[in-house]
Symmetry: C2
Subunit: 351 residues, 2 copies
């Protein structure tokens, strides 16, 4: 039975870090009974998040019927629980609801919340909690599955969305494609995956290799990327994912108009072309990898003419397909993926 969710954003609905909420609304709307946020109450999800249709935003759990799980719908830098959410979580537990969280600060390590959950007999599901302890072996990676990974120029630019849209479009084209989740929101949507950014450092690459081994019976895997090789805070996660999954091809994701690092406004992001070069140069020497296309994120741009101008400029500059998977659809990236598969088969790198 799918869970019946109340998605909690409480004051964060219009901030970038409500991406967990908006992704659940986009990909699992049937599971969402309501969004809880007293600052946006009375509106619909569609009005605030641009997705989710008529799902109501409510001010209190009193206004919700038939939900069984409270899901924390935000991702804070450092993964800390905003104190404003504590009372709501305790309220939900008191009403017999389970609580699901993707924060680094685990609910089950919080004495007050843990005690309340035990007393109420409900489950705390900390999606990032893991005990990964395997190192890479590089013995059993097969040569039948095409491995595509999304990468980015920064955090929160849509790497998960692009990976989901691309894998869904490949399925519609009759291919056996699999979205491989590597972050808490992706795992909440897909129901499987490893929260790579919460794995102990020495085991990041190994955990990613395990994802490859678990999923390589598919024809094509599309692995959700994390952060960026040029992200000052999280670049280690990105490289571990890159070397652990040893993809054949990358889709470069970027947000139109973003010039400064997410959460670090004093730091400029390097030019896209430079970043793309760093990615290709940093591939494992035994697994050469190239960028097959660019995914624009244009959600903050209303000006269609500007979007199309930038799209054309990038196509000319890079000689690659460029699209926003939401605005334009992912067809160009599907083509690029199948073209790479064909090339690698001709070269004998893929069977």
């Amino acid at each position: 039975m799918p869970r019946k969710l109340v998605v909690l954003t409480q004051g964060f609905a219009r901030k970038l870090n409500a991406k967990t909420a908006s992704s659940l609304l986009r990909y699992r709307p049937k599971q969402v009974v309501a969004v809880l946020d007293d600052q946006e109450a009375g509106q619909t999800a569609q009005e605030v998040f641009g997705v989710g249709g008529d799902i109501p935003i409510v001010p209190s759990l009193d206004d919700v019927k038939g939900a069984d799980t409270l899901l924390i719908g935000i991702a804070t830098p450092g993964g800390k629980l905003p104190e404003a959410m504590r009372a709501i979580i305790l309220d939900a537990i008191g009403r017999g609801m389970n609580v699901e969280s993707g924060l680094h600060q685990f609910l089950c390590d919080d004495p007050e919340i843990q005690a309340a959950a035990v007393k109420a007999g409900v489950t705390l599901n900390d999606v990032r909690k893991n005990n990964e302890r395997d190192v890479s072996q590089r013995n059993d990676i097969n040569d039948t599955c095409l491995r595509i990974q999304t990468v980015g120029h920064d955090c929160s630019v849509g790497k998960m969305v692009v990976a989901i849209e691309l894998s869904e479009a490949l399925k519609k084209a009759g291919r056996d494609a699999k979205f491989v989740a590597t972050g808490q929101t992706g795992i909440m949507i897909e129901g499987s995956g490893i929260p790579i950014d919460c794995v102990v450092a020495d085991f990041i690459n190994g955990a990613c290799e395990k994802l490859v081994l678990q999923n390589q019976h598919h024809e094509i895997m599309v692995v959700e990327g994390q952060a960026s090789l040029v992200q000052p805070r999280y670049s280690s996660v990105t490289l571990g994912l890159y070397h652990g999954c040893v993809p054949h091809g990358l889709v470069m994701c970027y947000e139109m108009g973003r010039g400064q690092v997410y959460g670090m406004d004093h730091l400029p992001i390097p030019p896209l072309k430079d970043i793309m070069r760093v990615y290709e140069q940093t591939a494992d020497h035994l697994y050469p990898c190239k960028i097959i296309g660019v995914a624009m994120n244009t959600k903050n741009t209303r000006d269609d003419t500007a979007v199309e101008a930038e799209r054309q400029r990038l196509k000319d500059e890079l000689g690659l397909p460029v699209c926003d998977v939401i605005r334009h659809g992912p067809d160009e990236l599907v083509e690029a993926t199948l073209k790479l598969q064909k090339e690698l088969r001709q070269q004998g790198r893929l069977k």
Copy 2:
């Protein structure tokens, strides 16, 4: 009071992963009462490890007097406790000794060992245990401290030894230099540092930045590197350390004759020159960084002529100082460090 150590290697003395033991013997011999290893018993530390002089290797704790701490002297891949060591650890605890370990598998999480320690009233010191939860800010890095980092072509090539030898030599030359430990053995020697390879992924870069902030009142810091950007298992740790510490200069460490990846004999290591290029290209774009010298590790080579030939060949090829800090001393690297300091001051990047 410095601790009085029995260093446990039990069957691992002649393997590469006894590097914790050999480093303690090299840098803290006065603290080591004995080495415990029944397969090497009767010999001296010097005979087995090439360092440690007359420190005896004993078959049992019965043969040791006056020690207060058992120190696990090995680093296993994955950081697991060899089962053969369990009985010895319990024996030591029963004798009232503390136990110090740098393994990933924490002693304090082992019910049997933890219970025995509580009963005996002794301390378990898991050096890798940490709760790092800070992300990088890039706000407070100063422009007075020169940051040097050792990097490598693989694991276990001497990055810690080179960092210690270089910082000690800089001190002898009258400079205010500081060795900054980032691994369990370095921390055991220096008494401070952060075990970077055991930090949760999202906080690796931040933990490394913290080391910079804690130590940048010195004129020069020499940061112990970890693994390698081309190490299939641990490259994520390397990049986090690199972007977290944003060094001005790197010392490239490699082991003469090593062609295959440590612990992964089926994988070749790329050519040194290619690896050096990857390091320079992967530097943060706001903190350009260059390799200032090469540290050879020639401990497995008895042939002096071959060593000197390779040294000269590399000097010619790379146009950089090249030395083995143990065999030749670190003077060339001291010169290269001071030359970089002068250059950066002329460019205005350092005050």
